[in-house]
Symmetry: C2
Subunit: 645 residues, 2 copies
């Protein structure tokens, strides 16, 4: 294994390394570079070998010296211009023709490195080039040698290709593909057809603006009406002289995405498009036939975030009320001890809740984005915008990790009272749990079944122990650091990770859970709503707690296989019980469609219809690109620029 | 606590709820909505109260009926147009004047809800409005009643305000602020000055295009040359009639961000700008004076990702070599058992490594983005582009979770050989660890000190146990599910979370670690490089393993407090040891500056100089907005549109 990799021993010496890898410019990093225990050039040669480094240098310097690849700082390139530039750059890659077949055969790793080098510059032209020359041409070449002449046209860019597998309502599950290819014996042709818009080919890279031909996956029907399973076919979709669609093909661009916007991902519908019999590529063997795969993972992925939304929403409001009380005191110039204490407590609570809320929101947005598959990556569905708009919350008004230190400092400040057995309490009661510090440290995980765990009192008790335990650990760690003669700054510094930081997080989660737990048990809650609220409270508590499971074991609160399993199974069971309530729970706080402005998230649930409508509303979705002559007339001369490398 | 919150009991009945909250449109979600165990309208009334729901309805329907707030599907709004639209919308919020002072006093929660409602539509106009009316005016109002007339001009938009605390090279740490305010006794003025560009006010919302006045935080110097600490001042920065900068002020827009691009975040440098003595706002008491906070968290945050980059890069290349071997077999039409087995093994490896690599990259990009603070959120630094371009890797060619199932199915398929004690091996050797399945299940965590743990053989042994244990658990869970009469699909489904999914992840991490561990011990590695490579291997192994710590305890591989502490402390110690090598380790694989195209990441390390240069290269950074008359002439009439609500 890894034989070629190991052959790339660090050959050469300082001189040859210097030739390959010039020094970095002088600057503030010099002093850090000097501290290194090894020579970075020797390492680079060991990892890549001289050959690959030369290839990288060749590619990087070609791009840097080529005006077509120049950066335009501060320029706000519109998507259409970016797509045009991407296509011109892709064409240019033909002219550079960085690797010959011979070089690839001698060292296949070179092709991987070439893709990475161009991708690091910009993934859009890299993917456009690779989808055309690699995926499209590669699929056809592997199928049969009889397409050799066709593939020559790919390499000379007489045609431009794409790989059309996924459909609007069917992504990964290739068995669900519904495009059909019916064999007509009388004319010896296949008839390619899209039954309805949900079966439109969708997400196909290069299809939006440029592709003249597609490898199309479709269910093959023989004249006896039998389905023979998934097969692939070469289908022409645009005229090579004009880039206008072939009659019967409706083809266009799917619109803006969260990234890779230079690449023209597209859609296509086929209305009984006839292709010659010879255009069939394969039997289905090379498409991974997937079985039915779990969809329950999605529910498990998202339901805890739904529970978190309820618990954290309640907490934010209750914290806001605490703040209003405190602010009223400020305005009326109260100078009481309670007013001072309130300020400290609110600061500690808000310093830890901003990290908790902003990280939870960030993870939830990313999880939703992934759970929606590719469609979550379409800009129109706004999951990216929601994630990106929330993102600065993780840093403004203080980096989250810095803020957490302020909360742990506050908590540590109570250790003196605990040690001296002085009674204490805080205005909003959040640190009163520490009054029973010694007693709580003796607690153990006591649930005897999964059912036992399904009440938020179980994670709440565990959290109380966790806060006390992490406080004790942080306190001991700090003493030890100080005893070893470290400065106060250094000592506190070394206590952050795994101690104070975890303490602050556990404390705020415990506080959120305590408040929500109390709320769901309030007698004023209607009996019709209490069961679902209690389930949410239990799920939020257990799910949050499960991230601390290692500490529960480590500190001896839990032991044996059962504790962890109970918690995990209770989470799954609660997800199962909340499954039927999920839509209604979202309905409760969902903003109106107009505000949400997301086709995938509209209240009518017709996600594919909504998306399809919005794509066609994009005035340029079906337009021929204004730079069509750059494909149809100005063909690249493969390898023309090789001599410049 | 939370008294008002509890007052919002679910009042009313179905009729009053229906008036407040209309039904959703019919569609495919109907059947899920019917399954709910509770009435979503009753829940909404419980959570918010009728009063708040009415406010939400009022705001939502005002925005929806106003053409200025119309959505423009498919339109690719350039940043400048978006900033103009944001300002017009912000002005419109003055005209709606959704909440009176009286309403806010009666129920302060309303202001929170108003901000959220507008923010859900778009955070840019919401923040612009809130920074002006809330933060800017609020700061001044709290300082002294003598500014009452000034604040009236804020509410009528005769002036437009911003809050200028952070500086280019000083974010959260307010003690590091370097703008000065020197009192000139002779003229009774303060002289506001920016010592150099690194002390430019930076990131200030509303400053980029619109603000006429800023609350500026500066170190106060008295005539005796003494620094009196941080104080805040009202400083005019633009002419209210023309929106042109005041002499001595250089003010502009910081450029595109990852989100919130309607908001004009800006910068300003002051060249001895004189302001009247009366413009001082406060003594420093209301700025949270922060101490020195840890920066070691950053190293701990990023170093494990650096180690992961090395281990995963090696793994990808080795997997690519396996693939080349397999592909050569395909091309030469080999039909051997080894060829078939290779295909299955490569499929299992790639199905699990795509999730591992794409998630690690996504987390690393987000972590880097956060570790860079606000500057990581500036589009020019490209951390967002890198994250967003990587993002589709988490879903294309199959959702990560679906892919992991394919790997766990492959692993589970070996249980028959294990049970029947039939000898087995795989072409690339990755499942050979299972040959010792029974023996390995008896292993225990054996390290007796932190030092003991600092070798990748320790996490590697733990991973071997983990893979065997999770295989056993998954197999038992599946049997149990099947015995309970569930279908094969359902049974597999219920085994995913916490079992098969964890198994696939642990397996691929173990494989990556095994290969990297072997590589770092290869005799061909120069002795000058081996120590740092071994440290990287140990760090990657321990850091990955630490996410599975709970399972190690749960299954009895680890016990007691020491095991977890050893692992955690070994991670910290390795981060410490690798600290000095960090820059050189990045140098080894960093692309050239031109390719990376990120001022913050340039090899010279002059991040502030690089950023400053790039901002000023943006041709419009210092331009007056083309829509300046919308501020200077067309003033909003506060509350004009209230009657329409």
């Amino acid at each position: 294994m890894a034989s070629t990799l190991n052959l790339k021993q660090a050959t050469g010496n300082q001189n040859s390394w210097d030739t390959l890898l010039p020094d970095f410019p002088k600057g503030p990093l010099c002093k850090y570079r000097k501290k290194a225990s090894f020579n970075w050039k020797e390492m680079a040669v060991l990892l890549d070998g001289e050959d690959i480094i030369q290839l990288k240098n060749r590619i990087f310097s070609a791009l840097e010296s080529d005006p077509l690849f120049a950066h335009h700082p501060g320029e706000d390139l519109c998507r259409e211009k970016y797509q045009e530039l991407t296509f011109l750059r892709c064409k240019r890659l033909f002219e550079y023709d960085f690797l010959t077949q011979q070089e690839i055969i001698e060292n296949p790793l070179k092709i991987l490195n070439m893709v990475i080098c161009i991708g690091m510059y910009d993934w859009s032209p890299c993917l456009q080039y690779f989808l055309h020359c690699g995926v499209f041409a590669g699929t056809i070449l592997t199928a049969s040698t009889r397409f050799a002449d066709f593939v020559k046209k790919v390499y000379s860019m007489e045609i431009f290709g794409c790989f059309a597998l996924t459909e609007l309502s069917h992504g990964t599950n290739t068995k669900g593909i519904r495009t059909t290819a019916t064999f007509d014996r009388s004319t010896q042709e296949f008839i390619i057809n899209t039954p309805d818009f949900e079966a439109a080919k969708f997400w196909v890279g290069n299809m939006g603006k440029h592709a003249t031909h597609a490898v199309v996956y479709a269910q093959l029907y023989t004249p006896d009406g039998q389905c023979q399973g998934l097969h692939s076919f070469i289908v022409q979709i645009r005229d090579t002289k004009t880039l206008l669609p072939i009659p019967g093909v409706m083809v266009g661009d799917i619109g803006k995405k969260l990234g890779q916007n230079g690449l023209d991902n597209g859609f296509a519908m086929f209305h009984n498009v006839r292709i010659p019999k010879e255009n069939i590529l394969n039997i289905a063997g090379d498409v991974t036939a997937e079985g039915k795969y779990s969809s329950s993972i999605k529910q498990w992925r998202l339901l805890p975030y739904l529970a978190a939304a309820y618990a954290l929403d309640y907490f934010s409001k209750s914290l806001f009320e605490n703040f209003v009380e405190f602010y009223a005191g400020l305005l009326t110039k109260q100078r009481s001890q309670r007013q001072t204490d309130s300020g400290r407590e609110i600061h500690a609570l808000s310093a830890a809740s901003k990290p908790l809320l902003s990280w939870t929101a960030q993870q939830a947005a990313q999880e939703c984005r992934e759970a929606c598959g590719g469609h979550g990556y379409l800009a129109m569905n706004r999951l990216g915008e929601i994630r990106n708009d929330n993102d600065p919350n993780c840093t403004y008004e203080g980096d989250n990790n810095v803020l957490l230190q302020q909360t742990s400092n506050y908590l540590m400040s109570w250790m003196n009272c605990i040690r001296d057995k002085v009674p204490f309490e805080s205005p909003f009661g959040t640190i009163n749990v520490l009054q029973d510090y010694r007693h709580i440290l003796g607690w153990k995980f006591a649930a005897a079944s999964v059912e036992d765990c399904m009440d938020s009192s179980v994670p709440l008790a565990a959290y109380k122990w966790l806060v006390c335990y992490l406080l004790q650990e942080s306190d001991q760690k700090l003493s030890k650091e100080r005893q070893s003669g470290r400065s106060d700054f250094e000592a506190k510094n070394n206590c952050q990770v795994y101690y104070c930081r975890s303490l602050a997080i556990a404390f705020i989660e415990q506080t959120v859970l305590q408040r929500y737990h109390d709320y769901t048990r309030d007698p004023s809650i209607p009996s019709t709503l209490q069961p679902v609220l209690k389930n949410l409270s239990a799920l939020y508590g257990l799910w949050s707690l499960s991230k601390h499971l290692a500490v529960l074991y480590q500190g001896g609160y839990a032991s044996g296989e059962q504790a962890g399993r109970f918690i995990q199974n209770a989470i799954l069971e609660l997800c199962y019980r909340l499954k039927d309530d999920a839509v209604a729970l979202v309905d409760v706080f969902a903003p109106p469609d107009f505000i949400l402005n997301s086709p995938i998230g509209k209240a009518n649930g017709e996600l594919y219809k909504n998306m399809w409508a919005e794509i066609l509303q994009g005035s340029k979705a079906l337009n021929r690109p204004s730079w069509w002559a750059e494909f149809c007339i100005n063909k690249p001369v493969t390898g023309r620029l090789r001599s410049r490398l």
